[in-house]
Amino acid sequence: MNRKFLSSAIFYAVVIAMALIVLFPFLWMLSSSFKTQVDIISWPPKIFFTPTLQNYEKVFGEQDFLKYFLNSTIVGTAAVSLSLVLGLPAAYSIARFTQRKLAVFILLARLMPGISFLMPWYIVFSRLNLMDSYTALILSHMLIALPIVVWIMSSYFLTIPPEMEESAMVDGATRQYAFWKIVLPLSGPGIITATTLSFIFSWNNFMFSQVLSMEKTKTLPIAVYNFLSYAEVDWGGVMAAAVAIMVPAIVLTMIFQKYVVKGLTMGAVKG
């Protein structure tokens, strides 16, 4: 009995240590975001301090942070919605007609280095006067979202028995109708997974937005990064901005935890 207690005590100690390693950067970020610059640069690093909201006031007041927040939301929402429109029928077709080559073709967009598309986009979008436009940014983020949608949904559609559509088709419905009225209504969990994951990936994207957006369409990751370019880094401000940018993704993850885990681990665990 004693030995069992000891081994489970060791187990929990290990688990707590792992949790602290994972959490530590978040905790440090959070606590620094409530520190004054003096507290941040003091040595040794302060664990106890008088919290201040001045960093958040600065970020949301002086900076156009709400605008960037809105930009990230617009770009992410539009890119994900359009990717669902293009991706759901494609994923259905891949699942029902076993189009493996097509699946690989679309997945390549997820695997290949983004910069090998980004450089030509930059040239073309400049020529078309689309730099710093929502159009260019949404198109580029669609290339992030679409493969995720296709990847997740083509596996999901396989879990829906084809008999469901076939019986409707025997009764005279077209396959398009069956897809729209029978398959999609059954696909809620898959669509939630695909939407959440692709939105988070769009939200976090840095490289595409760094090149294609400027003042008008600037997204949050770029705004956070720009904090660093000041002569003296305002650490408190950066940390408050970093907290602000992560909160939506973390809240989404909290709400849809089950789906996010599934989306991130599927494909590796064969399905």
């Binding site: 494609a90 097509l102 030509p120």
Partner: protein
């Protein structure tokens, strides 16, 4: 009625067509364009049109030490990061693979680094590594070690960046392997236990071999992404100090959007593309073969 049956018969083309056109326009065409630019010496700032120079840009870039170092660095970063992540990730999954109070919370915590914005994570670690005010040196001094320069020195910058990558992506391996472990049948483990195998023997000779395909796939996914690591490196060091943390991705980015040497940048991008494409295709072939 007739029209709908035509649509019906060609549904396997019509349904994916919009997605195919989109990917062709935004991926295939740009990649071909990059490829064709690599045979020019186009410089966007010169105002001159692109001229065909054959393999000249290749000859210039491929012999440049900066480029060769970037290739070596890209592989070093990838191999070390993925190896450490694989080892720690699998170990953590084996530890967590049991019922315990707070398991769902533990899994939620593991998700956090995966959904956190990489640029922001990079900046947090910048503060952590700062030689004068950073916590990293405080910890070193607390245990009696001399302070380090971390990302400020060309000797320690790459390991410091690998550490950030390991922190961020080890949980992904853990979550994937945990999901794989959850799907295993209990019987072989029970049988081994009845035969008198020790816990360690069971893990080493029963559990790990059974979950090996899942581990490999997790490592492959990580490998492909690690080759392309950009956000963390760009935000933390921009490839510096000097070129000490410049990978192919960073070098391509600088050539494109800082120097605007599109011809030479295209060469870097073509090489990076071929490396990632080769790895992906090779791996997919292997996977397809092992699935049979």
């Amino acid at each position: 009625m007739i029209r709908s049956s035509v649509a019906e018969r060609n549904l396997h083309l019509l349904f994916p067509l919009p997605a195919i056109i989109f990917v062709a326009m935004l991926m295939v065409f740009p990649v071909l364009y990059t490829f064709s630019l690599s045979f020019t010496n186009w410089n966007l700032t010169s105002g001159m049109p692109a001229t065909f120079v054959g393999l000249n840009s290749y000859a210039r870039v491929l012999t440049e030490p900066r480029f060769l170092n970037a290739i070596a660095r890209t592989f070093a970063f990838t191999v070390f990061a993925v190896a450490i992540e694989g080892f720690l990730g699998v170990a953590a999954a084996l530890i967590l693979n049991r019922a315990f109070v707070g398991k769902s919370l533990a899994k939620f915590l593991l998700l956090l680094p995966l959904v956190a914005t990489p640029v922001a994570i990079g900046i947090v670690f910048n503060l952590f590594y700062d030689p004068t005010i950073g916590l990293a040196n405080f910890v070193l001094q607390a245990v009696g070690l001399p302070p380090g320069l971390w990302i400020s020195s060309d000797k320690s910058v790459l390991p410091s960046l690998i550490l950030v990558d390991v922190w961020q992506w080890t949980p992904m391996i853990t979550l994937i392997v945990l999901a794989g472990l959850a799907g295993l049948s209990e019987e072989p483990v029970e049988a081994a236990r009845i035969d008198g195998a020790s816990e360690w023997q069971i893990i080493r000779w029963v559990t790990i071999p059974m979950v090996m395909p899942v581990i490999l796939t997790a490592l492959i996914l990580r490998l492909i992404d690690a080759l392309k690591t950009f956000d963390i490196i760009f935000a933390m060091t921009g490839g510096g100090p000097g070129y000490a943390s410049e990978t192919l991705n960073i070098m391509g980015f600088k050539y494109s959007f800082e120097y605007f040497r599109m011809g030479q940048s295209a060469v870097v991008l073509v090489v990076l593309f071929i490396i990632v494409f080769g790895c992906s295709m090779g791996i997919m072939k292997l996977r397809a073969a092992s699935e049979l």
